[in-house]
Structure formats: structure tokens, C-alpha cells
């Protein structure tokens, strides 16, 4: 109930600031409400976690100043879960996420994915790991501006030598999943922000990753599009069985996840 009140309050604020059209707002509210109303996914008891994080630490050293961005963080993520990580700016969300996705190495601690500690992998193996197991979605969609949507979506296929035909089929399948079937031939600049983010999600899903990692995926979108992305995540989880970890500082978005982890000063609350 509280969530709803907050949501309405937010819409009211936006409305007063003339930032939203009324009709669209209502739709957004309705879909948000609808989504909130959905039952949260609970992994069955005894299911092994897809990712185990144990006492993860990350220290940055800039000359004499040392920043402990992530301090002894431990948690587990179960298959098909949608986990949201929230926290104030600078609390270490992105740092944590990068380590989870094998983009960055922890100072200490372990990240076990399918029983493998990715903290110990070589650069080359990490590349393969990222390509096979992880899908990334970023706040700024970072689509290649001179590739068509179809090509952008299929970029991950470049590394694993997929046949052109299979690649095309997969692109179409994913485009349909993210609702961009009509737009495959377009360049990114011909798409809206929401569409671009959906394309980026399709790209992230291309190699059927186990885990989708998203850093502020809605940070650049309006609430209607944000809702749509969240809706899409749920659909993806249903359709592909993907585990999804989202970093956001937007509590509304976080509330839509199955579970919410909150960070503060590099620690999990």
C-alpha cells in the first residue's frame, strides 16, 4: 500500500512540474500498479544459487587516498531471480556490479558463478565468461551508431562465430521479444530512448546469458519507458529463464524486483 502511495505522489510531482502528459501517466501508473500487484518470484527451497558472493571487497588507491568502494559484501542470487541493488550515489553499486559481471577484479573475496570463482580468471577467460554467461545493460545504451538494430543486437555473435542464418533468426526472435520486430533495419539514431534500451537488452540476451546485469537501465528513461523495461525484464525471465541483477537508485524500480538489496558506503544493509 505504501508503495502505491509513493508512486502516486511521484506522479503528482511530475504532473505539477509539467513533465508528463496525463494520458501517458495514467497508463504508466496502471502498468506500474499492475506490475506491483504481481506475485514476487520466490526460488524453491534447496535450489542452488546461480551466484555466490563471499566477503567481496574493492579498494581503490589513488596515490595516498584509499577508497573502500565495496566492503565485505556477501549475498547469493538464485536462478530466475530479479534482484535490485539500490543505494545512494557513491555507495558502491556500480563497483559491485562490475565485479559481478567480470569486468573488474575484486581486491579480495570470491564470486562463484556455477561453482567457478571468476575473481581468479585471466583476462582472456573473463572475456569468454562475459560473452557466454553474462549480459550487460547500461544506463547509456552504447549502441554502435553505424550498425543497424539487427547488427547491433547480433554483435555478441561476432565472437562465437555463429552462422549468419542462425544469427538472423536469433536477432528476429529477440527483436520480437523486446517488441522491435519492425525496427530491425533502423539505425540507433532513428529510435527512441526506450527502444534503444530495449535493443541493448536484446543485445545482452543474444548469447543466452545466465545472468543479465543492468546498471541503471532506466536512468535515462521516463517513467513510462522505465516501467516498460521492468515489464520486459519480467518477460525475459519468464521466456528465457534469465537471472537479472539491476542496479538502480530509483526505489520504484527496485520495488518491482523480487528482492531488494540496499547498499550504503560499500556495505550491504
Amino acid at each position: 500500500m505504501e508503495d502505491r502511495k509513493e508512486l502516486l505522489g511521484k506522479v503528482w510531482r511530475l504532473y505539477k512540474n509539467n513533465e508528463l502528459l496525463f494520458e501517458r501517466d495514467l497508463k504508466a501508473i496502471r502498468s506500474m500498479e499492475e506490475m506491483l500487484a504481481r506475485p514476487k518470484y520466490k526460488p524453491e527451497a534447496g535450489v542452488k544459487p546461480v551466484m555466490e558472493v563471499k566477503e567481496l571487497c574493492k579498494k581503490y588507491k589513488n596515490g595516498k587516498n584509499a577508497v573502500e568502494a565495496v566492503k565485505k559484501v556477501s549475498f547469493e542470487v538464485y536462478p530466475k531471480e530479479i534482484v535490485a541493488i539500490t543505494g545512494t550515489s557513491g555507495s558502491g553499486k556500480s563497483t559491485l556490479l562490475h565485479m559481478l559481471g567480470g569486468l573488474d577484479k575484486p581486491t579480495s573475496g570470491e564470486i562463484l558463478v556455477d561453482g567457478v570463482n571468476i575473481a581468479k580468471l585471466s583476462d582472456r577467460k573473463l572475456s569468454i565468461f562475459r560473452n557466454q554467461k553474462i549480459g550487460f545493460v547500461f544506463q547509456f545504451f552504447y549502441l554502435q551508431p553505424f550498425l543497424t538494430l539487427a547488427q547491433n543486437v547480433a554483435v555478441p555473435a561476432m565472437i562465437n562465430k555463429m552462422k549468419t542464418r542462425a544469427r538472423k533468426e536469433r536477432s528476429e526472435e529477440l527483436a520480437e521479444a523486446v517488441g522491435l520486430s519492425e525496427r530491425l533495419g533502423h539505425l540507433p539514431k532513428e529510435l527512441s530512448g526506450g527502444q534503444m534500451q530495449r535493443a541493448a537488452i536484446a543485445r545482452a540476451l543474444f548469447n543466452q546469458p545466465k545472468i543479465l546485469i543492468a546498471d541503471e537501465p532506466t536512468g535515462n528513461l521516463d517513467s513510462k519507458n522505465s516501467a516498460m523495461i521492468l515489464d520486459l525484464f519480467q518477460k525475459v525471465r519468464e521466456q528465457f529463464g534469465t537471472t537479472i541483477i539491476i542496479v538502480t537508485h530509483d526505489d520504484d524500480i527496485a520495488n518491482l524486483a523480487d528482492r531488494k538489496l540496499t547498499m550504503h558506503d560499500g556495505e550491504l544493509l
Partner: protein, 656 residues
């Protein structure tokens, strides 16, 4: 690793990313490389395609040198008289003076020892401040005697010397030739009125510069067949029984003899080839005579001229007078008046005898006519007003400038050969069976397989210079100095036929220029490309970071950028080459006909189908430039890439 096709796809996005900048880069770089390509194409067309076409038709295709042997000169080390030689020369000098004194007495002639000594001095100080450095006086009887003895000794080893030189320079063939010079005769040709141009008292005839197209036969170069073959007239009908000396004259002289006006330098190709064809047609009419007068006849003729100018009073005192030689007749002057008594005659005869014995002068007047038939035509003589193109072509065509070729084998078959030889004999030679006795100006034609060997042989001249001190203070390359130590050269060579050695050095110079210009262009192009590529790389840092996140390995990213750099360089190379070819083509249509005409003329070819072209595609050289451009592309990508590839993708994603 990503496939080539994929890296191409991604590389293309880099080209699109900074379209204008990429295009500008290609334009600037390709303009520079177009200059290189153009130079290489035109140079190749000129030197490697066109020149050989003409050269192969003529003597110029032969890699030959013409060399003279150092005999007598080698007697005097560094050209100076040694102390031991001075002793010998002094002895010969004294002996000669004593003989002269004795003979004068016998013949009843007056003798002035001091004057005789001065006249026959065998050496002199080269400079006043170096009185101890003595230089031989070639004409002195003592020196001649010493040289003669030396030549006689060396004669035996001459064949060995040739063998050694052939081995040393890797010559494949050696043929003998002779440089004949009329040393004891004055030669006169008939002018256009059919009269001999003997000296006269008429002032008008002496004025004005003589036409340099008038042939002269004072010197003849007897050449072996391979040297003259290319220049024979197509319809040459010379016969040994004709008693005509076969000769080849330069095209200018042939024109003059046929009464054809001089063609302007810019005469059209049509005019020039028509002229060449005309000459071939009229070549049978090219017969002319020369009158050879010995010094006695010459003296009598000039005496006759002075006598004619004298007043009757003065004429009275002259006891013996001649009539000048009539210009229509090659004969000795006729005696007009002779009032000498027996004593006068005896004195005169004795002094003539003395001059004959000691100074090699003849006693009796002689005049002889020799007929020549032009059997071929040599490239034109140097014309000092000619332009750059003509002089360059001439330099490379390499004709024997100013020489008259006499085909040696034809000459040796000539029925009246001995009579002709006599005209070119040295004063003291009497037995003329052997042509070697006519003159010691033997020349040797050495033939080589490659132009490089010719160049090598010519380089050895430096050894000769070093050894004989002809050019003191000349800088000698180290490797030649080493070679010279092993080998004392006996020949002095000049290039003959092909100017292969010159061509080689032109090519070497060109290569160096291309290298320097190429290096500068490459540096500029690298900097420009690096700027553009660096910009593109930093532009797409975030995309690269995402690609890394997606699982691209470092090498995949490197590959993408290198492909992009290669495409940029490849397009540059293609545009540059296309541009160069276009300009070369325009130039070619503009200038090829003119060059064809000039080359026809200067190479004096008989085949008028030969065409000059300014387009030559040397695959190896062009390929090397293309390769260099591609390497530049890679380097220009590699440098900014190494700066960027180690970047942390996370940081790239973080900074907005």
C-alpha cells in the same frame, strides 16, 4: 577471435564515425602518395619501357666499354720522371745531341748546340716552386726512345694484360678497334661547288665560322661489327672492290651532304620520320672524296701563296717558286720557277734529309685522294642549343659523339687499304702491312652481360687514376681502393653503346630521391592518419568498453581498428594510384608523340613503329609503395591504439 568479415563490418563503422575527417585524411595522404606513384610510373615508362625499346634497336642495348691501354704512360709513375729515368733520359739526350752534331757536320749544315739542346729537352719542372718534380716532354726524342723501348717490352705481355683485364672485369667478349688520326697529313674535302677547300689568299673564304655539319675525316674510329651493325643503311651496297672507304657519319653531316636543310628542333614527328626515311632512300648518293697533303706539299702550297702575294721586285729574289694547288685537283704543287744552283740544291736536300732523320719530316711532297662511301648513319652530333629533353635523351642514347665510325671488317677487306692506312700513319712508320704500325691508338671494345658490370669496369678507372696520379686528390671509395690494391689497371675505359652505367646512376639517384621524399610523405601521412585514427578511437571509447563487456577480447578490438586503418590506407593507396595514373595518362597523350619523334631522331632508329610512352607499371616498385602505405596505416593505427587498448573499460564507461 572475430572473423575478418565481422572486423570489416566494424571497421566500416569507424570510417563512418568521422566521415569528413576520414575523407580529408584520405585526400591529403593520397595527394602525397599520388606524387610518388606518378614519379614511379613516369620514370618507369621513360627509363624502363621506352628507352629500351629504342636502345634495343640500336647500339645502345649493348653493355660495352671502349678502352685504351696504358702503355707508355705507365712508364712515368704519377706522370713524373723518376731519378733513375732522369739519368737514362740525360744519356739519350746527350747521345741525340752528339748524333745531330755529327750528322750536321757530315751534311755541311750549321749547328747551334744550345738551340738544339733546348729544342730536344726531355723534361721540365712542372711548377717553379717544385723544381725537383720533373715531367716528361712527350715530343722529345729522348722520351720517344724510352717509350719505344718500353712499348717493345710491353708488346709481349699485351695479350696477357687483356686476358687479365677481361677476367678482372668479367667481360664476355673483347674486340679490337683503332683510332686513326691523320698525323702527318692535312685533309681537305670538296665544298658544295665540287672544289677542294685548300687554303687561298682570298680573305673572304677564311671569314665566318665553318658549318659544323661539314664532315671531317681527320680521325676515324675503326669499330667492330657489334658496334656499328645497328647504324648501317638498310640498302647498303658497299663493295670492297669499289676502293671506297666505308664510313658512318652523324645524321647532321649526312643531311648536309645531301643538301637537306637543317630541321628545327621542334620539327613535328612526321617531319622527322620523313627526313629519316628520305635519307635512307638517298643513301646511295653519299660518296665523297678527300685530299691528303703531306707537310712537304702543304709547305710548298703556302710558299706558293706567299709568293703570289709578293711584289715582282721581291719575287725576283726567290729562287724556287711553286704554283698553288688548283682547287679541282688533288695533286702536289707544280714548280713555276727554279733558278737554284747545284750548291743550293745540295744544301736544301741535306737539310731536308737532316729533318727527316732527326725530326721525322718527309722529303718528297705527296698528295693523295681517298674516296669514301657513307654506309650508315650515326645519331646526331651534340647541338649546344638543344633543350633539356633532347640533351637528356642524347645523354642516355649514348652515341659516339663527333666520331666517324669505319666498319673494321669492311675496312680490312678494302683493296686499297694500305694506301689509306698510309694517310693515317705516324711519320716514322714505313711498313704498313700491319695496321698496328699505323698508330698505337689501339682501342678495345669490351662487352659485358649487365650494366652493373659496365659500371664496375668504369669504376676501375679510378684505380688507374690513383695509380698514375692523373687526377690527384680525387676521392676514392673504400671498396674500390681495396680492389685497386689487388689490381693494377692497364686500361682506361669509357662507356660505349649503352649508357647503362649512367642509367644506373640516374636510377640510383632517383631511388634515393624517392626514398627521401617517400620518407617525408610517409611521416606526414602517418601523423595525419594517426590524428584521425586516434580521434576515432577515443570517440568510440565507450562502445569499445561495451564491446569488451560483451566479451570481445583485446585482440578483437585491435583487429577491428587495424582493419579500419588498413581500409583507410588501402583507399588512400587506391585513390593515389588512380590519380597518378590519370595524370600520367594525360601527360602521356600530351607528350608521347613529341618524345617518340625526338627519340627516333636521337637514337637514329630505322624502325618507325617504335613508340615512346610515359607509363610504365613496375609491379614490384608500385607494390612496395602500396605495402608501405598499408604499413603506414597499421602504424598510424597501432600507435594511438597502444595508448588506448590498456584503458580500463570500466573507467571508460564511467566518465560521461
Amino acid at each position: 577471435m572475430i572473423s575478418v568479415k565481422n572486423s570489416l563490418t566494424l571497421a566500416l563503422t569507424k570510417l563512418k564515425a568521422r566521415k569528413i575527417r576520414n575523407i580529408l585524411t584520405v585526400v591529403i595522404a593520397s595527394l602525397m602518395f599520388a606524387v610518388l606513384f606518378f614519379a614511379v610510373i613516369v620514370f618507369e615508362g621513360f627509363f624502363a619501357v621506352s628507352l629500351p625499346r629504342f636502345a634495343n634497336e640500336t647500339l645502345s642495348s649493348k653493355n660495352m666499354t671502349v678502352a685504351t691501354m696504358y702503355d707508355a704512360i705507365s712508364l712515368f709513375k704519377n706522370g713524373k720522371v723518376s731519378n733513375e729515368q732522369k739519368v737514362v733520359l740525360d744519356r739519350y739526350w746527350n747521345e741525340d745531341i752528339l748524333a745531330r752534331q755529327r750528322r750536321s757536320k757530315e751534311l755541311g749544315l750549321p749547328f747551334d748546340e744550345k738551340a738544339a739542346r733546348k729544342e730536344t729537352q726531355p723534361y721540365e719542372a712542372y711548377e717553379e716552386d717544385r723544381p725537383n718534380e720533373l715531367w716528361p716532354v712527350d715530343s722529345a726524342p729522348a722520351v720517344k726512345r724510352l717509350v719505344k723501348e718500353q712499348v717493345a717490352v710491353e708488346q709481349e705481355t699485351r695479350e696477357q694484360k687483356i686476358k687479365k683485364y677481361v677476367k678482372n672485369t668479367k667481360a664476355v667478349k673483347v674486340s679490337k678497334g683503332y683510332q686513326l688520326r691523320a698525323q702527318s697529313r692535312q685533309v681537305f674535302l670538296k665544298n658544295q661547288n665540287g672544289e677542294y677547300a685548300f687554303p687561298t689568299n682570298k680573305k673572304s673564304e677564311r671569314k665566318g665560322r665553318p658549318d659544323d655539319r661539314v664532315p671531317s675525316v681527320e680521325s676515324l674510329l675503326l669499330v667492330p661489327q657489334e658496334a656499328y651493325q645497328a647504324f648501317l643503311f638498310n640498302n647498303n651496297d658497299w663493295k670492297a672492290e669499289s676502293k671506297r672507304v666505308p664510313i658512318m657519319l652523324s645524321i647532321n653531316k649526312v643531311e648536309y651532304m645531301l643538301g637537306l636543310p637543317k630541321l628545327s628542333q621542334d620539327a613535328s614527328p612526321v617531319e622527322k620520320s620523313k627526313r629519316l626515311q628520305d635519307i635512307q632512300k638517298k643513301s646511295k648518293d653519299l660518296i665523297f672524296s678527300a685530299c691528303y697533303l703531306n707537310s712537304v706539299a702543304m709547305n710548298q702550297h703556302s710558299d706558293a701563296l706567299s709568293y703570289a702575294k709578293m711584289t715582282p721586285v721581291l719575287q725576283k729574289d726567290i729562287k724556287l717558286a711553286y704554283a698553288p694547288i688548283a682547287s679541282n685537283n688533288c695533286s702536289v704543287p707544280q714548280i713555276m720557277k727554279d733558278t737554284r744552283d747545284a750548291e743550293d740544291r745540295k744544301m736544301e736536300n741535306n737539310s731536308a734529309l737532316f729533318e727527316h732523320e732527326f725530326n721525322g719530316l718527309e722529303i718528297q711532297p705527296e698528295a693523295q685522294e681517298v674516296t669514301f662511301q657513307v654506309v650508315g648513319m650515326l645519331p646526331p652530333d651534340r647541338d649546344y642549343s638543344e633543350g633539356l629533353v633532347d640533351s637528356t635523351l642524347r645523354m642516355l642514347a649514348g652515341s659516339a659523339d663527333g666520331e666517324n665510325y669505319v666498319p673494321m671488317d669492311m675496312f680490312m677487306k678494302l683493296e686499297n687499304r694500305l694506301d689509306v692506312q698510309k694517310m693515317y700513319a705516324k711519320p716514322e712508320v714505313n711498313n704498313l702491312e700491319n695496321i698496328e704500325e699505323v698508330t698505337d691508338s689501339r682501342v678495345f671494345f669490351f662487352e659485358y652481360k649487365t650494366p652493373e658490370l659496365v659500371k664496375d669496369a668504369l669504376d676501375l678507372n679510378v684505380c688507374a687514376n690513383m695509380h698514375y696520379g692523373v687526377f690527384e686528390g680525387e676521392k676514392i671509395p673504400k671498396e674500390i681502393e681495396v680492389r685497386c690494391k689487388k689490381y693494377k689497371p692497364e686500361f682506361f675505359a669509357s662507356s660505349f653503346g649503352s649508357r647503362a652505367a649512367d642509367l644506373l646512376s640516374v636510377k640510383e639517384t632517383f631511388r634515393q630521391i624517392i626514398l627521401i621524399v617517400g620518407a617525408v610523405f610517409a611521416a606526414i601521412a602517418t601523423i595525419i592518419m594517426m590524428g584521425t585514427i586516434g580521434r576515432v578511437i577515443s570517440d568510440s571509447r565507450r562502445e569499445t568498453a561495451v564491446f569488451r563487456a560483451i566479451g570481445f577480447k583485446r585482440f578483437d578490438i585491435i583487429k577491428t581498428y587495424l582493419t579500419y586503418g588498413l581500409i583507410l590506407a588501402g583507399v588512400t593507396a587506391a585513390v593515389a594510384f588512380g590519380l597518378a595514373l590519370l595524370v600520367a595518362n594525360i601527360l602521356n597523350t600530351q607528350f608521347a608523340p613529341m618524345l617518340t619523334a625526338k627519340a627516333n631522331w636521337i637514337y637514329c632508329v630505322r624502325n618507325f613503329d617504335l613508340k615512346f610512352t610515359l607509363i610504365g607499371l613496375n609491379g614490384e616498385l608500385l607494390g612496395m609503395i602500396v605495402l608501405a602505405i598499408l604499413v603506414i596505416g597499421l602504424v598510424a593505427t597501432g600507435l594511438p591504439l597502444t595508448r588506448n587498448i590498456r584503458r580500463n573499460p570500466i573507467r571508460d564507461m564511467r566518465d560521461e
